[in-house]
Amino acid sequence: MGRPTLKSTFTAFLYLLPALLIITVFTIYPIIKSLLISFYNDYDFFQDIVYERGIDSYIYLWNDPNFHLALKNTFIFVIGVVPCSIILSLLIAILLNTNIKLRALFRTVYFIPFVTSVVAVSIVWRWIFHTEYGVLNYFLGLFGVDPIAWLTDPKWAMPSLIILSIWKGLGYNIIIFLAGLQNINDQYYLAAKIDGASAIKRFFFITVPLLSPTTFFVSVVSIIGSFKVFDEIYALFGGQPGPASSALTVVYYIFEKFYGEWNFGVASAAAYCLFIIIFILTLIQLYIGKRKVTY
């Protein structure tokens, strides 16, 4: 490859130009701009005039009960989705990783929700969750459970959203876990078998530790993804953040402030808060990951 020279730098930037142009204009510049907007106190959107700068937007967020609610809901959502999804997908991946027929078929089936439009499947789920005519309540009714107002009762809106999200994202995690499992050399299992470890022990003493990098990756991706939930809510609750804002998440909050109220300063500030939360969480995860990921 040789050392960088003026010529090689020039050539390289020719190759990079298209991607860099797009990314600079539509990613890097907006990141900076967004930070600036979040400090606009008084802004005329139409004429692009800033009358006053300051931290009003952040103060507003600090005092806005809706933002607090959005934060709370987002955390509940993440806590509801991520562990559940990881455990379920790990279990399914392990079952799929056994020597069974139809493995490819199962894998395909579990992955299908991932490739389908959130909007389209949310519409189906909206109906599945219907209090009177939904199949879910029909099934529960067979077991003597009273109809649950999945989408109109603030208590149940979040669980409904969580169910939908787990269902949607399961396939992706399964694929990654499967790949992780296949990377574990069979010899470890043979050795452990010879050493007399039972299947359960083999799982806890070989699979779990050797899979830890994968688990780590999956959890980072899931957490970040879950923090950004929006489409599901919009489609599931018909353009509302759930009954009594019970499914108002941070991104939904940003969307409302931005597109409903045209309050760019607050929306940007909220977006940056989200960014900072994700950033801190990622750092924490990296830190834990370094210490806990066994190899």
């Binding site: 991607a19 701009k33 199962f106 991932f114 790949a179 931005f258 990622t282």
Partner: protein
């Protein structure tokens, strides 16, 4: 032996049950899309329509300009995928096989942007597109999405795994950098490129928030945005809604089933390497 058979049976049963749960919404969607209006909103639910009403599809198709939505979705998906492939191939090549000043810093900056949630970009991008006069134009739907740091990262990893000797050999064989990229690297990276293209296509086809915000006229809507609009209009006419939904998800399911090998491989690879 019996224990083995038993545990095997348990596995099959568990997996099948899970699979049915995964598919049930789709089955329900598909079956309902063929039902007559009076078979939809009733309790207990009717699973199979008495007669298959294929005309539901026609009706849904005519109720909203789905033809136009479909055209838009295909245009946007195809063009942004092609665009992303081109920018990604070029950039990943530069990052993996060239040495230039600022390479590592630049790459670190790009990776850093992956941490930023897309919502942060929404507002300035919207303002920017307004200034450019791209709102409600194909440009807005396509151009911002023709480059992806994630794709560059993925392909770079793949390119890095190609031995250097190959490029030296090609050089000695009289092949220029640019030609080497397209005649050797690109064919070699086919699996990675397929993955990138498919993930892109899926993402682009299903994208909702962005097209919702940057399109205004009916003529510019993509399928998901059109579908939500249709769902407000069609209200609770579920058989038509389901027909429309089926039309939207079917292309991606078919695409996925045909090319699933690449998607799964690619995701697995990207996942493992992090």
């Amino acid at each position: 032996m019996i224990r083995d058979a038993l545990s095997k049976a348990t596995i099959y049963i568990t997996l099948s049950l899970g699979g049915v749960l995964m598919l049930l919404p789709f089955i329900w969607m598909l079956l309902t899309s063929f039902k007559a209006g009076n078979e939809v909103m009733i309790m207990p639910p009717v699973w199979f329509p008495e007669k298959f009403h294929f005309e539901n599809y026609k009706e849904a198709w005519e109720m909203a300009p789905f033809g136009r939505y479909l055209f838009n979705s295909i245009t946007v998906t195809v063009l942004s995928t092609i665009g992303e492939l081109i920018t990604t191939i070029l950039a990943a090549y530069a990052f993996s096989k060239m040495n230039f000043w600022g390479r590592d810093v630049l790459f670190a900056i790009l990776l850093g942007t992956m941490m930023v949630p897309g919502e942060v970009l929404l507002i300035p991008n919207f303002v920017l597109l307004s200034d450019l006069g791209w709102i409600d134009q194909y440009e807005a739907l396509i151009i911002p999405w023709t480059a992806s740091v994630f794709a560059i990262f993925l392909l770079r990893q793949f390119f890095l795994s190609v031995p250097k000797d190959l490029s030296y050999a090609a050089k000695i064989d009289g092949c220029s950098d640019f030609r080497f990229l397209w005649t050797i690297m690109v064919p070699l990276a086919k699996p990675a490129l397929f993955t990138i293209a498919l993930l892109k296509a899926i993402g682009s086809w299903n994208a909702f928030l962005w097209p919702l915000i940057v399109t205004s006229s009916k003529e510019m809507r993509t399928l998901p945005v059109g579908l939500t609009a249709f769902s407000t209009e069609a209200g609770t006419v579920y058989e038509l809604l389901m027909a429309a939904s089926t039309m939207i998800i079917l292309p991606m399911i078919i695409l996925y089933i045909i090319l699933q090998k690449y998607i799964i491989q690619g995701i697995a690879k990207a996942g493992i390497k992090g």
